[in-house]
């Protein structure tokens, strides 16, 4: 498996609290992505990064922020968690360029109660 790990793997949090998920890679890949996986919606892009301190929004970015202060770490923060953010979150990494494979983390199951 590519060197990509997510933490925590499981989390239960209360509505209104901030939550930070971490994605760590050892592959030195330029791109990092955060997706959420929901039944009937597949994988939807939240935010992505194309370099240190270079990030951009995906299709479902409201209520989320990200930071990438170094190549290996990409943090996803739920500023004030809501029940609609209960989901499985996946981090992915890839090199830049054409025909590039994405490598995924094992996912974080987040429950907001």
């Amino acid at each position: 498996d590519a060197g990509i790990t997510q933490s925590p793997r499981h989390k239960v949090t209360e509505t209104g609290t901030p939550v930070t998920l971490r994605c760590h890679q050892t592959e030195n890949h330029r791109y990092m992505y955060w997706y959420r996986q929901d039944p009937g919606h597949g994988l939807r892009l939240i935010h992505y990064s194309y370099g240190v301190k270079d990030t951009d929004k995906g299709e479902v970015s409201d209520g989320y922020s990200v930071s990438r202060s170094k190549t290996e770490d990409f943090l996803l923060t739920l500023e004030s968690a809501t029940s609609s953010q209960t989901s499985v979150y996946f981090c992915a990494i890839s090199e830049s360029g054409q025909n590039t494979e994405a490598f995924f983390g094992q996912g974080t199951r987040l429950t907001v109660v």
Partner: protein, 111 residues
């Protein structure tokens, strides 16, 4: 806008039967398409990519630009093929690369 459509949420077939998982895309440029698979309790992983024109685990997928499709096929399904399958479009937008995934199709292969 770029879009990937997988019309079937669930596909059930018997072992040994042919399988076809449908994928259609919407993209104005030259598409780069992939199939990813997620087996139970495992992370998503690449199954195949259109540019390689290869067969992985007996699966093939042909890009049909006229029909904007990239259907995944296997002539004889096996029980171990049961998994969630995602079609993905990889594209360059505003100078950065992104993957767009379909909603996924769960394949169940029945004994």
């Amino acid at each position: 806008a770029q879009r990937v459509t997988q019309p079937e949420k669930l596909l059930s077939v018997f072992k040994g039967a042919p399988v076809e998982l449908k994928c259609n895309y919407s993209y104005s440029g030259s598409p780069e398409l992939f199939w990813y698979v997620q087996y139970s309790r495992q992370r998503l992983q690449l199954l195949l990519r259109h540019i390689s024109r290869e067969s992985i685990k007996g699966f093939t997928a042909d890009l049909n630009k006229g029909e904007t499709s990239f259907h995944l096929k296997k002539p004889f399904a096996q029980e171990e093929d049961s998994a969630m399958y995602y079609c993905a479009l990889y594209h360059l937008s505003s100078g950065t690369y992104k993957y767009i995934f379909g909603t996924g199709t769960r394949l169940k292969v029945l004994a």
